[in-house]
């Protein structure tokens, strides 16, 4: 426990009221007396309490906002607009499964295998809803060759074009989105944007349009952060192209990669695909 004199001294120090000589003696005491130094530290922490009270109040506010948003998002609004399409796919898949099961019971023990059903079950396209990967990278400046993205009219125009495609994508106007993105790729200066990200999004659009070959070709051009997911979607496209051997090759790589977000799904899917060993 410190004395009243020391307590007052620390308070005066925090208020900046010490004379030069007092301050020098104070600093010496902090240096040589660990117990006193700790006492000073506790006083300093208490002095920060008003600021920290504001910070803790802000945390509570953010928690409140997060809670409100969770409560507001009813199950129907959580589901993204592309879900109905997936559900139709899943429903169609379930019908196929039932038909398959019927055939299996009627005509013997041969295993029923449905690429359409597996695709609908595993593709997970609802995870991708926009072209933000492009913007995020652009902000980091990693794809821009010495150009400040906030200041060039050309890049602002590119950004607006991609936002327009994004908006079409979110409205499920995939044909128009495809047209605009293909035209963007033809006309935009390839040094000024991430081709990889644009190809990734073009691949997604092709998947929605069921243009499997084009999707696989687009995903093959993807590099960097999005490559892992691009590999997954390439495998999905190969399943729909009935090129299961190519799909299995890719899925094996994913299944062996413990950092891949689809590792578990790849393992499951490999168990359901024909064995190409």
């Amino acid at each position: 426990m410190i004395s009243d004199e020391q307590y007052i001294l620390i308070e005066r120090y925090l208020e900046g009221e010490l004379t030069e000589a007092e301050l020098a003696a104070f600093e010496l005491q902090v240096k040589e007396n660990p117990a006193f130094a700790q006492e000073v530290q506790i006083h300093q922490e208490i002095a920060k309490a008003p600021l920290e009270a504001d910070a803790l109040a802000f945390e509570v506010l953010v928690k409140e906002v997060a809670k409100e948003r969770k409560e507001q998002s009813s199950p129907s609004s959580v589901i993204k607009p592309i879900f109905p399409r997936l559900w139709i796919g899943v429903a169609a898949g379930i019908s196929l499964l039932l038909i398959g099961y019927f055939l299996w019971t009627m005509f013997g023990p041969s295993q029923v295998y449905s690429p359409d059903l597996l695709y609908a079950e595993y593709v997970g396209l609802e995870e991708q809803s926009n072209l933000l990967g492009y913007e995020e990278r652009q902000q980091r400046g990693t794809n821009i060759v010495g150009i400040d993205t906030t200041q060039t009219a050309e890049l602002l125009q590119y950004r607006d074009q991609l936002r327009q495609v994004d908006s079409l994508y979110q409205q499920q106007a995939y044909m128009e989105a495809k047209k605009q993105l293909e035209s963007f790729l033809e006309t935009a200066d390839p040094a000024l944007f991430s081709q990889s990200d644009v190809q990734f999004n073009l691949g997604l659009i092709y998947l929605y349009l069921e243009q499997w070959q084009a999707a696989a070709a687009a995903f093959k051009l993807v590099k960097g952060d999005s490559k892992q997911l691009a590999d997954w979607y390439t495998a999905m496209a190969f399943i729909r192209l009935n090129q299961e051997d190519n799909a299995v090759d890719i899925l094996r790589g994913i299944a062996e990669n413990s950092f891949h977000s689809k590792q578990q799904m790849a393992k499951e899917l490999l168990g359901k695909l024909p064995d190409f060993e």
Binding site: Q38, A53, L56, E64, E136, H260
Partner: protein, 190 residues
């Protein structure tokens, strides 16, 4: 020249709820996507976003030397990335491969330590008993002046407040000194 995101920064400083909602609308889904790309779940992404905004960003923008040199999203993204790296490391899912500037990561670590200390400090304040708790609440949380506090507590002069505050502060210091968790954090930071 004003930064385009100054409005959002000011909203954070002023604890403007509508603007916090706007920041969620603008950025949360992208952060969730980033966390998912790095092997986390959507819920992990929500938690990281909440911590980045609620704990780290607020304290950053409160600093007098804070200056936004990139887009707000870029800063938020970097904070979230770092928080997710820490989380992944904790869960032993991966080791941190750090390409971020040391000054930036140190600042985040410092903020998280400050937050831990502050949280413990307020636990002790809340346990001090009615009188002291009320005094600190008016003084620290509500930022009331000594005159306002005197009036609120029905005290005759400001001197009484000073005596009362000293008594409560000593009580708080004794309480903190008796808490090994608090002393450990102080020791780590020192």
């Amino acid at each position: 020249m004003a930064h385009p995101d100054d409005r959002l920064i000011e909203g954070i400083r002023q604890q403007d709820k509508a603007l916090i909602h706007e920041i969620y609308d603008l950025y949360q889904s992208r952060i969730i996507q980033m966390v998912q790309k790095k092997g986390g779940s959507a819920e992990d992404g929500e938690d990281v976003f909440q911590q980045a905004l609620g704990v780290v960003l607020f304290r950053m923008v409160q600093r007098p030397d804070f200056e936004l040199t990139s887009k707000l999203y870029t800063l938020l993204f970097s904070i979230c990335k770092r928080l997710w790296q820490r989380q992944s490391q904790k869960n032993r899912r991966e080791t941190i491969t750090d390409e971020m500037p040391e000054g930036f990561t140190n600042q985040i670590e410092q903020i998280l330590e400050d937050r831990e200390k502050a949280s413990l400090l307020w636990q002790h304040i809340d346990n001090l008993g009615n009188d002291c708790n009320r005094l600190f609440d008016m003084s620290f949380r509500q930022h009331m002046s000594d005159s306002e506090i005197s009036e609120e507590l029905g005290l005759q002069n400001k001197g009484s407040i000073r005596v009362k505050r000293t008594r409560c502060k000593k009580k708080l210091i004794a309480s903190l000194r008796s808490d090994p968790r608090y002393l450990e954090i102080l020791h780590q930071v020192a």
